[in-house]
């Protein structure tokens, strides 16, 4: 078996005590920094990249993989504990994860995220090792029209995310798309909606929107309630680990998330984010077991599914990088940077020219994942202790971390003014009963959607039928329409409303 042979080469290279130590240190640093709100995987890797210069190539990549997974898991931790999504893919984790934390079930939520991610990571690694080359072919089939249709599907999926009014969710997606367009237009170089403010020509930062709308909005709304009705966190913490019932609920969710994530991760651009959102949509549509908590109120599947999808996708997103040399997202672009520093040119030739490095890297990703779970399961106890801190001490600290996180991304006070605006907006959304999660998906997809729409219509000379005449694109749109019909069907709608009665 080629696969086993190759993997054994990889593990032979990566599985040395010194490399394990690097993986551990990477994971630890990644988690500790990633857990600071506002500092996501990208910033963490950028900060720690210089620390890996002096290491031999394989060790450096192992440490970076550790940092990456650590930072990503650290981001999910803050999402669950304090309602702060540090990056796009943890926006969905916030929805049910934070509710679980409020009910004293932060432990199971964190464990579900960790275990789900680990499982997904293992599968993702196998997919990466076994199917890297054939899967690249699939990515080639995606032209601009297909990407656009895929994003439409993703956005329709986001409508299902919202538990309240469908129309309001559509409005929020459109608002998100529009916000994503603020800044310099890549085609013409025109600065759009920037009001001649130089900082706005770079666009609005994701962290700014995430921290403002989720972080500040939630804090203001919590403080607005009287202390007696506030009860931000349940007094007693119910168990650190998921119960048997939890495991039974989350196992299928993890499986579904893993499959979905492995598939979407291959596509360059937004794979991991789309995977997390899509997984949540599927979980919400999947049949509920009797006695399950509704979504949006702390359902463990709402944490396990997206987190697995996200991790599987970040694993398979190495495929375009390693086989085509195309970094699918900013984090991967940094990894390319790290590789070139060590004199490795990512691309199809890596597999043949330095097989021990290629397979070593794949093995190291698995090691990074394993290290994560070893490190983080014991840490759960400590994170939960944080929630026993009285809210009147906790909230100034959260405000502070939001402000610092926002400032540190660009070392620019302008972002602090922006987060204030989004904080007010976030509170307004809560008051008006509008859910903010679709906004962020729209924001992430906005620029990509415009680009692909432009390219698709440029290639078809302005003929809109291109989206339905190309088979793959047409089927994606058909699924989108089907999903929309299901959502709009009156009977389903009534059930939705029963399940998600507004607070």
């Amino acid at each position: 078996m080629d696969l086993i042979n190759n993997l054994s080469i990889g593990f032979g290279v990566a599985f040395t005590p010194i490399n394990l130590l690097y993986a551990f240190v990477g994971c630890l640093l990644g988690t500790l920094i990633g857990v600071l709100p506002g500092i996501g995987p990208l910033a963490t890797i950028a900060m720690l990249l210089p620390a890996t210069y002096a290491l031999p190539p394989v060790s450096a990549l192992i440490m970076l993989a550790g940092i990456y997974y650590g930072a990503q898991y650290g981001g999910s931790t803050t999402a669950i504990l304090v309602n702060l999504p540090g990056e796009a893919s943890s926006v969905v984790t916030v929805i049910d994860g934070y509710q679980m934390a409020r009910q004293g079930r932060a432990g199971p939520a964190l464990a579900a995220a960790g275990l789900g991610s680990f499982f997904a990571g293992c599968v993702g690694t196998l997919v990466l090792a076994g199917f890297a080359v054939p899967l690249t072919e699939v990515a080639f089939k995606f032209g601009p029209a297909e990407y656009f249709s895929l994003m439409v599907l993703g956005l329709i999926g986001a409508i299902v995310l919202a538990s309240g009014s469908i129309l309001k969710a559509v409005g929020m997606i459109l608002l998100g798309l529009l916000m994503g367009l603020v800044g310099t237009d890549v085609n013409s170089g025109v600065a759009r909606f920037s009001f001649d403010i130089p900082e706005l020509t770079d666009g609005i930062g994701f962290i700014v929107i995430g921290m403002g709308v989720f972080g500040y909005g939630e804090i203001i709304s919590n403080l607005g309630k009287h202390e007696s009705e506030r009860k931000v966190f349940a007094a007693e913490v119910k168990g650190l680990m998921p119960t048997r019932e939890d495991f039974r609920n989350m196992a299928p969710a993890v499986l579904r998330g893993t499959v979905l994530g492995s598939m979407l991760g291959i596509l360059p651009g937004g794979g991991a984010t789309m995977a997390a959102f899509a997984a949540y949509t599927i979980e919400k549509k999947a049949k509920m077991r009797p006695g399950e908590i509704p979504f949006g109120k702390g359902n463990i599947r709402g944490v396990a599914g997206p987190e697995s999808a996200n991790n599987a996708a970040s694993q398979t997103s190495f495929i375009p990088l390693l086989t085509l040399g195309i970094p699918p997202n900013a984090v991967m672009a940094l990894m390319v940077g790290a590789m070139t520093i060590h004199n490795i040119q990512p691309g199809p030739q890596v597999m043949t020219s330095n097989p021990e490095l290629f397979w070593g890297l794949i093995a190291s990703m698995w090691i990074g994942n394993a290290m994560l779970i070893v490190l983080n399961l014991p840490l759960i106890g400590i994170w939960i202790k944080l929630l026993t801190v009285p809210y009147r001490w906790l909230f100034p600290a959260i405000v502070l971390f939001c402000a610092i996180g926002v400032y540190s991304t660009n070392n620019n006070t302008f972002d602090i003014w922006m987060v204030a605006i989004f904080g007010v907006l976030g509170y307004l959304f809560i008051k008006l009963g509008i859910e903010p999660a679709p906004l962020l998906l729209g924001y992430v997809l906005g620029p990509m959607m415009e680009e692909n729409l432009r390219r698709a219509l440029l290639l078809s000379r302005g003929d809109w039928s291109v989206f339905v005449t190309r088979g793959l694109s047409a089927s994606l749109l058909a699924v989108a329409v089907l999903l929309l019909v299901i959502v709009l069907l009156p009977s389903v709608k009534r059930k939705r409303e029963e399940a998600f009665v507004e607070e």
């Binding site: 403080l223 400032y407 008006l432 440029l458």
Partner: protein, 162 residues
């Protein structure tokens, strides 16, 4: 005409206003046509769509009956004011305001100010408690961000650091 869902009514208005604003803004850029989209094409499309959604939401808010009128309820002005103020003061102290020649006071001062102002948003304000919290936060932020991560934050006021 009676508003049947206050929340939806104002959400709809919000969508209409923002959608129209974006669409109107987009017409200032070259719109072009489908084959050769200018920078204004996509935002114009989205803005118009958003306004339509807004109209639909508003219309539904006026027609679809709800049990309790879906009141927006009282705004929590006090926390809103103090949280946002604490954030603004933090930025002002951390970075200064070069346009009016205000020098920066550095991170330590900014953290202490933020903690005190943010704490005012809560129901009880115990000076001693908040002071301790501010000191803990300042020390831990200094050691994490400046000492350990070596981020380029000004820690002390301009007139001390020079």
């Amino acid at each position: 005409m009676r508003i049947k869902s206050q929340k939806d009514f104002f959400s709809g208005l919000l969508f209409i206003v923002v959608g129209v604003a974006f669409a109107w803004g987009a017409t200032n850029y070259k719109v072009g046509d489908a084959a050769r989209m200018g920078p204004g094409y996509f935002p114009l499309l989205l803005g118009v769509l958003m306004a339509i959604v807004g109209i639909a939401v508003t219309f539904a808010a006026l027609t679809v009956e709800t049990e309790d009128g879906d009141k927006v309820g009282k705004f929590a002005w006090k926390p809103l004011f103090f949280i946002i103020l604490s954030n603004l003061v933090f930025g002002l102290l951390l970075g200064g305001l070069p346009s009016i020649g205000l020098p920066y006071m550095g991170m330590i001062a900014a953290i202490i100010a933020l903690t005190f102002i943010a704490a005012l948003a809560g129901e009880e304000f115990k000076f001693k408690e908040v002071l301790i919290l501010a000191i803990i936060l300042a020390v831990s932020c200094y050691s994490t961000f400046i000492w350990a991560l070596k981020l380029q934050f000004p820690a002390w006021p301009a007139f001390i650091a020079g």
